[in-house]
Amino acid sequence: MIATQHSLVARLKEHPCDSDWEKFYRLYEKPILAVAAAKGLSEADCQDVLQETMVRMCRHGFTRYDPIRRFTPFLFGIAKDCAFDALRRRARRNSHEVPSDASETTSFNRQKDPTDKAMNPADTAEMQGQFALVGVALDFLLEHQTFAPKTVQMFKALVFEQRNPNDVARTFATSRGNVDQAKSTVLRKLRPMYDALDKGLDLETALHGANP
């Protein structure tokens, strides 16, 4: 069971306040935008998706979320629904359709068309959202966790630049073991950050947990 005080999402469900909202927005805006961008939407449409996803979370998202499940697939599911709506708005703009009354509608169906190829593969948007989420976790970690400068430099050379570990060891005049250790040290601290974001928990709490 997740302690409420450690769960950003649980607090927003029970006692929403401005500071938690700002925190939530700051942490999840990029992943939501990444989900929208993966759907091929324009920058303006991606921003609409961000706004609408946040509004839906406020209205009923936190209430409907089941805390025993992962949070981000739930959040990204809402973002994908909003992206679908943005695609429909774009289709409307492109078609120059004359507005019609709902009273004229006989077969309106809000359900997604499962054959709509614009929404497939469904996992692509989820993956882009997860990549962005890892990026948020890493930015937070590097901002708040004090690593030795050399550790961060070797980590970036290995992971950001995808350089060969032996090459990195030569560059930094150290052993291959130290290079592997640098990578392992950062990843060991990163994992609880990413895990916390994925579950809607506080990153600060996760950071302190990673530094017993």
């Binding site: 990029k30 990444a34 921003q47 609408e52 709506d85 009354d101 993956m127 895990d195």
Partner: protein
């Protein structure tokens, strides 16, 4: 395979998989559009008004501070909602009117219609002072959750579905 790994719980990812995700994240970041301060401000205003509502709407609605009492309230949109100082009532029970004591509003100021493709379309009804959507005077606009509307001295926010 890499494509399956992001769907796994982070705690189950191997170091190599996590490192690959970081590498992908750096590519993804360049493709992510910028957010905007306007969105954050708009959401802040939405949250403030929404939390002040004594009861919450379960369908698409306009939320606003009543121009007379100042209290937060809402009006469901249904298939059509006409807003103004004294909008004409219609016989069709699926269509609603919202009459407000705002002297800067026209009798029939704007309407929101649920279109056949499930979108909410706002149209200004040739109002004297105009309808402002997210700060811009517009004749018509498809609304999304959080869109701000100003008619006369009254500010509304569309809740979305």
């Amino acid at each position: 395979m890499m494509s399956q790994e992001p769907n796994s719980s982070p705690s189950r990812l191997s170091d190599d998989a996590l490192a690959k995700m970081i590498s992908e994240a750096r590519t993804t970041v360049h493709k992510i559009p910028a957010s905007s301060a306007e969105i954050a401000d708009r959401l802040s205003r939405f949250n403030e008004l929404y939390e002040a509502l004594p009861t919450k709407p379960h369908t698409a609605a306009l939320i606003y501070a009543d121009p007379v009492t100042g209290s937060a309230t809402w009006s469901a949109i249904g298939n059509r909602l006409t807003v103004g100082r004294s909008p004409k009532a219609v016989a069709n029970t699926t269509e609603s009117v919202l009459a407000l004591h705002d002297q800067e509003m026209s009798r029939q100021h704007f309407e929101i219609v649920l279109t056949s493709d499930g979108l909410y379309l706002l149209s200004d009804l040739k109002s004297l002072n105009g309808t402002y959507i997210d700060g811009v005077r517009e004749q018509t606009r498809v609304l999304i959750g959080g869109t701000e509307i100003r008619a006369g001295n009254t500010h509304f926010i569309f809740t979305g579905l």
